[in-house]
Symmetry: C2
Subunit: 143 residues, 2 copies
């Protein structure tokens, strides 16, 4: 079984360029235990496609306001001093909670969208008022 599949290996700067983050950020995530890339003979980091996918997941979580600690638990790599079973159970439990949170956020996302649309409406109204002062009355509202 020649394990030649996916010999695609990346350096840290290749990853940084592709994901548009700094190398410092990548190393920082490693410090926090979020990724564990391999090393060359000369001690330089090497990243597989899997490592890259993991980073994408982390960045996705961040875009939703999750802290790195949150993400760490979501991913299921936290508390490496627990036995595997307990760790898996914890991760599963945490994952369920996060799924519910995602449901909530889906709803909130729509609310936020509506908030912004409402703000836009008011701004546009005020905009035309300023452009055309005759047609409207001067009502002072602070939203």
């Amino acid at each position: 079984m020649n394990d030649d599949k996916n010999v695609h290996i990346f350096t840290i700067s290749q990853i940084a360029d592709e994901l548009d983050i700094s190398t410092r950020t990548i190393r920082f995530y490693e410090e926090k235990g979020l990724i564990k890339p391999g090393r060359t003979a000369g001690n330089q980091r090497i990243y597989t496609a899997r490592n890259k996918a993991r980073l994408k997941l982390i960045l996705r979580g961040k875009r939703f306001g999750f802290s790195l600690d949150d993400i760490s638990e979501m991913i299921g790599m936290a508390d490496t001093d627990m036995d595997e079973l307990a760790q898996i159970e914890k991760s599963l439990y945490f994952g369920e909670a996060k799924l519910k949170e995602i449901q909530d956020r889906k709803k909130e996302l729509s609310l936020l969208e509506q908030d912004i649309l409402a703000t836009r409406k008011k701004l546009l109204q005020r905009f035309t008022e300023l452009k055309n002062p005759a047609t409207t009355n001067n009502k002072k509202e602070n939203v």
Copy 2:
């Protein structure tokens, strides 16, 4: 025209309790110009339902990882040293960008959900493997 509608007024701690944030946080948002509550004769802050709604909007934005500066611009209260027209234009422009971002996030939300579901699947698989070692082969995968 007796303006008796909505005389519902709240103190800062009432708001803090209801929205589950600290009074410090509320005052901090005021410092940043995100809200402008009224004052009593004795200089204490008073919040209307409108002020409360504004705070909810801010918190909603935060839950999606927007910075307070972002939210400030979304809401349309940034850069008070610009003339109103320019300010409105900027806010509108920013709002459009944020709406697009929200669209993207809707898609990403599903991706994140799928990531978690996939992780859960693997965890469950490993879980049963550990509980029932005979029935499966031992494949080592580090996600």
